[in-house]
Amino acid sequence: MNDKIVFGQYYQSDSWLHKLDPRVKIISVFSLMISLFIIKNIYLLLGFMFLVLLVIASTKIPFVKFLNSIKMMTFVLLVTFVLQVIFRRDGELLKSFEFNLTYMNLVIIIVSLFVWFLINKYIKYFKTFVFLVIVLALFILQYYVSYSPLIVKYNINIYSNGLIMASYIVLRIITLLFLSSLLTFSTKPIELNNGLDYLLKPLQKLKVKTSIFTMMVSIALRFIPTLILETEKVLKAQASRGADFKEGKLSARVMQIVSLIVPMFVIAYKRAYDLADAMEARGYIPEGKRTSIYELKYKFLDYFSYVIVFLILAITIFLRVKYAL
């Protein structure tokens, strides 16, 4: 059978975090995120990050998985870091670099960027890394080589606060990613949905149809893997009829994608129709009262986690208000 498709990022384990009530996890992650944004001091942030790392270590989820979740953001993080370092101009000046943009350097820069755009689709691994190395090399070139007439001379100054602010922002984003990954790695999507179902219940008093919303989410969770399988089938079927989704002109590719989208729409529509029949036949009444097979009950550990998390929130608020940390 096909075990390949696992929706979401859930990592099977039996740690205490996995056993925690989903409601606790959702609320905790939210309030910890608030704490994270309240913290202004980098040492406090480091302490907070250390706590998060402790939690990660205690869950038996491989740390590589967390690193992977940052991986997608490396480029954004680096750009943020570099921009902060370059443009922040307070604190003491640590070092000043002088760059010479000469005609020859400009030609080299343009040629190497052009080459990059030509070859970048053939690079399979470490694409971002290779790009960064090239960019770095170009700056080193401008630093050392000043041969041929000069166009402009410019300085990049690095200030102490710039460095601190840049690492503060980057660390904050990384901790944020870790926190949200902790939630998604340790909780199945359906559990999250059940937790939400419980948490949103008070809204029903305000006539918000939360039960319909969570039912929709659970059906979406149910059908996403099925539709992915179906898409693969249609892709193969169209490919066997000569459709090529990867190469050719843009207009041709758009046409090929239409050949994928149209059948997928028809399939999804037919499924939705059948599903509606099946649900109605089994007595589903939208907005009707339903019991639930999932029973969420707070245990000692859940209360304990609430206490810890709210304590952290209280402390960060206190430190911010009192000492502006």
Binding site: I190, R222, T226, L275, D277, A281, T291
Partner: protein, 268 residues
Amino acid sequence: MSLVEVKNVSYKYTNRENALTDVSFNIEKGEFVCVLGHNGSGKSTLAKIIVGLLKAKSGEVIIDGVTLNEDTIDSVRQKLGIVFQNPDNQFVGVTVKDDIAFGLENRNIERSEMLRRIEYYSSLVDMEDFLDKNPENLSGGQKQRVAIASVLACEGEIIVFDEATSMLDPKGVKEVTNAIKKLKGQKTVIYITHNLDEALFCDRVIVLSKGVKVLDEKVLDAFKEKDILKSASLDILDSMKLIELIEEKGLSKGKEIEEILWQLTYQK
């Protein structure tokens, strides 16, 4: 009074010919009735009308003395269950357990009772080891057995199977029909199919052709009505084809029967 009474039911989809014309029959409690029909004979429409998913344009359906209409449908549905053709499209839950629980949740059944029924009915269809599995990790036959368990768990008296095996591989068909056979004597079953072989385990056969009821007989008597079956574009049983050929050619010798058998095999 019969458990299911279908009285002069007609149905028409917009811009199409009549899907059902003046169909009437009664089904007694505990009966296994097979509704046979070719593509477009109106058999699926009939199934949807019986379970109240479609409203007949004329005529009425009476379940256990109550006429189906907008007001009664929610209460009558407690007695009805339907298993559809496509195993994937009727799987509502994210896991097998969720799916069986879905109908129970809708009926506001207590959690402890839900768990009891899930355990009991999943073992009835031999799916007790798969309760935490996702549908994409199940075969078609397994999904259909889950659908059966879901319907059984609601403990309705009447179960409609709308071509429940037509999308399965031979192994799946066998698993599912075995599960259905277990219901004999306990539930009233309306088994809709185009396959004569599957009619064999039913008590009674109703044949639909172009929306009209053309035959309503005990199962073995029904198979003798070859002309009617053929006119309803149904493929008659191989054994019946053989008998027909023997009669047609007036054969009496073993050698010649053997030759006919070979011919039949080659035709396949």
